[in-house]
């Protein structure tokens, strides 16, 4: 029932079903409401989409290659190993590169955010800080634009929709760095953990490793994507449970094509065989691709905007509130500390 303060009389009548009989032109029982789907589609095609993916992991885990494999183009530049001095990074950098890609009329602005230097130092304390800061900065930029009086028609979305975390294929368990990072960042961004360079693990080792990882994530209260609490309905839950049973995906990336059984496939050629990237018997790249791109892309963006961003906004607006209240002599007791 609609309840408008300005108007007292409102009524809701039971759902009226207008059937589209799909007959001849003059079909007077068909209103045409479902044409809105087509209208929405048209609008989406015209506007295009934005996607911002961050890749985090030690150098040499194949982050850039994986991105290039996912998007079948050079969207990420491999870190150029230069001179000896430059080889040891002193900082965690955040490098963000955007490309316009198009497929079947659908245009997308893809931004890959690389984090060279993460986990590469001897002392990696707080190496997640610059990353946290970057993510929060994007939320801040969006918030600033949103609260402007004169604001843009479409607020440019630079918020990190998804953070792919590369776990080195040790085969044993998560390292403290992995746990620390994922614990902190899963609170502000969607984390998709993957086992990198999975072609060094046998299937049994892989399963064992995955199980161990899942246990450790659970034990540490780390909620990776797809998060259980954001399942919308039973159908959603069913689909997402299946995914949750499979993460982290064991992936192999490649931008080289090889001839396999008369077909040209992306793969890695070794002396003992060719690993086909898109073959699910070999690795789980295809599942990752389907999750990220073909089925859950919109969902990932939605969770970022309606949950992570909103949480940031609430924290930020409350923090301003207490700052001002404090200035007025109100005792502070609920200052929310930034997880840094």
């Amino acid at each position: 029932v609609l309840d408008l303060a300005a108007v007292p009389d409102t009524v809701v009548s039971p759902a009226v079903y207008g059937e589209k009989t799909g007959g001849p032109v003059l079909d007077f029982s068909y209103v045409g409401i479902d044409a809105i789907l087509e209208q929405m589609r048209r609008k989406a095609m015209k506007q295009g989409f934005e996607l911002n993916i961050m890749v985090v992991g030690q150098s040499g885990l194949g982050k850039s290659t994986l991105m290039n494999t996912l998007f079948k183009s050079k969207v990420s530049r491999k870190s150029v190993l230069a001179t000896a001095q430059e080889k040891i990074p002193k900082t965690v950098e955040i490098k963000s590169i955007s490309h316009d890609i198009e497929e079947k009329g659908v245009r997308m602005k893809l931004t890959v955010i690389d984090t060279p230097g993460f986990g590469d130092q001897i002392n990696n304390e707080n190496c997640w800080q610059p990353i946290m800061k970057f993510i929060n900065d994007q939320y801040e930029a969006y918030l600033q634009e949103e609260i402007n009086i004169n604001r843009k028609k479409r607020i440019p979305d630079s918020r990190v929709h998804c953070c792919i975390y590369f776990i080195p294929p040790t085969g044993h368990c998560l390292r403290p760095l992995d746990v620390e990072f994922m614990r902190r960042l899963s609170k502000v961004v969607n984390i998709v953990p993957v086992i990198a360079k999975a072609d060094t693990l046998t299937l049994e080792e892989r399963d064992f490793f995955k199980q161990k990882i899942r246990e450790e994530l659970r034990a540490n209260g780390i909620d990776v994507y797809p998060q259980k609490e954001f399942d919308e309905d039973a159908e959603d839950r069913m689909i997402n449970e299946k995914i949750r049973e499979m993460i982290p995906f064991a992936v192999v990336g490649s931008d080289q094509e090889y001839q396999v059984n008369g077909r040209r496939l992306l793969g890695r050629k070794t002396k003992w065989g060719t690993i086909e990237v898109e073959n699910i018997a070999h690795c789980e790249f295809a599942y990752l691709r389907d999750l990220l791109i073909r089925t859950h892309m919109q969902n990932i963006k939605d969770i970022t905007s309606s949950i992570h961003y909103e949480m940031y906004r609430v924290r930020r607006l409350n923090e301003n509130n207490t700052t001002v209240a404090h200035a007025n002599g109100v005792p502070e007791h609920h200052l929310t500390a930034h997880e840094m």
């Binding site: 408008l4 108007v7 079903y17 589209k20 809105i36 609008k43 997308m108 990696n124 009086i149 892309m297």
Partner: protein, 427 residues
Amino acid sequence: MASTEIARQAGEGVRGVPLAGHVGFDSMPDQLVNKSVNRGFCFNILCVGETGLGKSTLMDTLFNTKFEGEPTQHNQPGVTLKSYTYELQESNVRLKLTVVNTVGFGDQINKEDSYKSIVEFIDAQFEAYLQEELKIKRTLHSYHDTRIHACLYFIAPTGHSLKSLDLVTMKKLDSKVNIIPIIAKSDAISKSELAKFKIKITSELVSNGVQIYQFPTDDESVAEINSTMNSHLPFAVVGSTEEVKIGNKMVKARQYPWGTVQVENENHCDFVKLREMLIRVNMEDLREQTHTRHYELYRRCKLEEMGFKDTDPDSKPFSLQETYEAKRNEFMGELQKKEEEMRQMFVQRVKEKEAELKEAEKELHEKFDRLKKLHQDEKKKLEEKKKSLDDEVNIFKQKKTAAELLLNQAQQAGGSTTLKRDKERKN
């Protein structure tokens, strides 16, 4: 210790990059549409027009259903807005349709304020959305959007020109809502008169600077049909929920002795065009224009009115909350000042009254004294009079006594003779 150094590579001049194979993000529009289907859609139509122009019937005809509501009387004291929400479903699309009717529009003798309640209603919906958007904990994605997406303005089929009420109302509404003017009950006008009428209306709207909704022509797939339809505005419509048998089909029509007007016959009226434009082609655009143009304008004006300003880029970032707090404190300060002023005034008044009363008391005392004196004087006078009277009485008494004495003496002398006589007698 990892120091924080953030290097940003130029993202501007975003390059295009060809894809070496099928990636799969072409499913994005589908993903987006699916999400919307799960959420359901909202569409809100406002019907403005005089009583009796067939607004309710037209809604019934457009959406193929019988909406609730009795036809209104013509004796409403002012314009009120009645809104009804319905859940419609077609294949997998669920639509929450809200129809708002202006009750009593054009019925009053003095119609100067007729447009006000309409503007207030539209603004109230914007305000509600703005409030939700400004909340700290908000749920925008599940918010029931009540903002008016389309305003169907019903023009009476006089055949001549627009009424001044129409022009004034549309002028007040054109910056707040998408106006689609339609000629109601157009079966009252002949074809030739109709063409002239449409031209007259369009030219009046243009010369008065009324911005009506233009069907968008920037997307090639619908540019052609939209621009054709733009030239057919205002649509001349006829509404009917009654069905009549024509040939071997039942069609919606109005039956007259001289013929039958078929609602969905494009030669008879523009109903099909209206339905096409309003629902099948531009519903989403209407919603978008409402949000990105009309609502933004309202929001901007409202925030500026409340005193917010955009800070310049190099000053500290602010939040609405902060400014709100500052404003609130300012307001409280003013309130306190006012309170103080009132208190002062009160004290002043009390003093004045007190003085007045003292004055009165003094007067009263004086009066009392005066009266007392008067009274004393009177008393004195009376006493004097009494005294003089007493004196007179005394004198009189003395005289009386003297007189009696004389009489007595006289009597004694005579009495003794009498006695002698008596004695003589006896002897």
